[in-house]
């Protein structure tokens, strides 16, 4: 999937994260800020990259501000941001394309 326009998903509430996707410069550029970065930084990056991979996103600037979200939440928020970037606003196919 292509990142056509900037899009945001998620909130800054505890146990959530806010994901912003923007058109990239030929690669995945990930900027991560997390309240649990020391213990889980590596795991969170892995989840984000895997999710982008499955959506076939190869070119994007991704900013994630994490407030202690679980993997499933991070995955869902990344998916949602990517879909929104493609103009899909309603009835997001949660977990549909991505198993």
């Amino acid at each position: 999937m292509e990142i056509k326009q900037p899009a945001v998903a998620g909130t800054l509430e505890s146990s959530d994260c806010m994901v912003t996707v923007e058109p990239g410069q030929g690669e995945i550029e990930l900027d991560l800020d997390s309240v649990v970065i020391r213990q889980y930084g590596r795991q969170i990056r892995k989840v984000i990259h895997e999710t982008l991979d499955r959506l076939d996103v190869k070119n994007a600037r991704v900013t994630v501000v994490d407030k202690g979200a679980l993997d499933c939440t991070i995955k869902a928020r990344v998916e949602c941001a990517v879909y929104r970037s493609n103009g899909i606003k309603d009835n997001l196919p949660w977990g549909g394309v991505i198993k």
Partner: protein
């Protein structure tokens, strides 16, 4: 009633909440409190959770008011994804945060409250200290992230916390109102033959101070009655009465100790204690329905006339109540309780509440309710002091008086007071029923 939600519903609800937050900040240009419940697992709302939320909302609003912070706008959501409230506050966000932070840290259910404060610039204010896990006390976000505790364990701890706090709130509220009811009863002035603010009526051994000491001494007993009612709520109603009996005896001891050995509230220990037990058996939502409360009270007292009065003769009677039953067939307070205090429901409470809503003072409405009760009750205190015949004559006289004027003038009640004192009469049984009327009235007015 208690539905489960999936992740997407939770995430959607969060986004919607943040969207509303931003819209309100834009509209008012003021900080706001976003209050939601911190509930782990797929069940985010239930009657228990909703009551916890309402308790938190009450705490928040009363604390903001206490500190002089006006709430310009408030809105509430009650959905399967949980209860949420948004409150626009006219104050510096740091001040608001200090208040909500203290609630989160110190209120009995504080750990379950998320009271975020968002400044007019849209930025959420951070807590000085990270929140602690409700199971182990470690920083909460680490336990949440690592799923250190199972959902079942978290749900169990949450449920226990909610049950404990709400049962405590119920018991404390009922005990406070019961004590208040006893104090209102004694303060209604003038009252015929009874202790009031002007005189000691037909009593030589007690005054209004005895009643105040006694009412305060009974507060913990009323709390105990509610808790026992709650604990025995799943057993047949008479079981609750059995469980209350020893505590009633002890409450009489507490009363005597507080008054220097005078019987001020013996009847109230029985009837108000019974009513508090019934409140414990009922859900808080039912407390505002006098019929429901009295029906439950009656169910608890079922069989007590049969058990305690049947077969008693003039010779074997050990209490005044038993003697009057043997002599006249008067079943007294036990009979009243077993029937669900019908005179309270039919006469006392309607007269009291109609009077108050018409703008009568507590003295006027209270005295009218007392007289209405007196006219329709075989008051064993009246029988004990004046005899059966005299009691009947006075009831008839008062009934005729009330037919002409349901809310007698203060002077009329005062004359009645003097007549009662001259004859050494005191309608103590009716006074206990008046306390029940006040109690039911306060319960109806009390907000959750």
């Amino acid at each position: 009633m208690t539905q489960t939600v999936d992740l997407s519903q939770v995430l959607e609800a969060r986004e919607r909440r943040v969207y509303r937050q931003q819209a309100l900040i834009e509209q008012y240009g003021l900080p706001l409190v976003s209050f939601s419940m911190n509930i782990a697992g797929p069940i985010k709302n239930s009657p228990l959770i909703r009551r916890g939320f309402l308790l938190g909302k009450r705490t928040l609003l009363t604390q903001l008011k206490l500190f002089g912070i006006a709430v310009i706008h408030q809105e509430q959501t009650d959905a399967v994804t949980g209860c949420e409230g948004l409150f626009v506050a006219d104050a510096k966000p740091e001040r608001v945060k200090r208040i909500t932070g203290a609630i989160e840290d110190h209120a009995p259910l504080g750990r379950l409250y998320d009271m975020d404060v968002i400044g007019a610039d849209g930025a959420k204010l951070e807590r000085p200290e990270p929140r602690r896990c409700l199971i182990c006390g470690q920083p909460a976000r680490e336990c949440a992230r690592s799923r250190a505790h199972s959902v079942e364990e978290l749900q169990g701890a949450t449920r226990t916390m909610l049950m404990t706090a709400l049962n405590d709130d119920d018991a404390q509220t009922a005990a406070r109102l019961a004590t208040q009811a006893l104090l209102y009863e004694v303060c209604v002035t003038p009252k015929p033959g009874l202790v009031d603010r002007w005189n000691n009526g037909s009593h030589r051994d007690m005054d209004i101070y005895s009643f105040m000491s006694s009412a305060a001494a009974l507060w913990p007993y009323f709390e105990t009655c509610v808790k026992i009612g709650r604990k025995t709520a799943h057993q047949p109603a008479p079981q609750t009465l059995s469980a209350l009996r020893w505590h009633g005896v002890q409450a009489e001891c507490d009363m005597l100790r507080a008054t220097g050995g005078v019987n001020t509230h013996k009847g109230a220990v029985y009837s108000m204690g019974l009513l508090c037990g019934a409140l414990g058996r009922l859900n808080r939502e039912q407390w505002t329905e006098p019929l429901a409360v009295l029906t439950e009270t009656a169910a608890m007292a079922r069989g007590s006339v049969e058990r305690e009065l049947r077969g008693v003769t003039d010779e074997t009677a050990s209490t005044a109540g038993q003697r009057f039953f043997a002599l006249y067939g008067v079943t007294g307070v036990r009979g009243e309780a077993e029937k669900g205090f019908p005179t309270v429901l039919a006469y006392g409470l309607p007269v009291l509440e109609a009077g108050l809503s018409q703008g009568k003072t507590p003295d006027e409405a209270g005295a009218a309710a007392l007289l209405a009760l007196l006219a329709h009750t075989a008051d064993t205190n009246m029988i004990a002091r004046g005899g059966m015949k005299r009691q009947g004559e006075i009831r008839a006289k008062i009934e005729a008086m009330l037919r002409a004027a349901p809310y007698p003038a203060k002077e009329t009640v005062q004359q009645l007071d003097e007549a009662f004192m001259a004859d050494n009469l005191s309608p103590g049984g009716s006074a206990d029923l008046l306390s029940l009327c006040w109690m039911l009235h306060f319960l109806r007015e009390a907000r959750i």
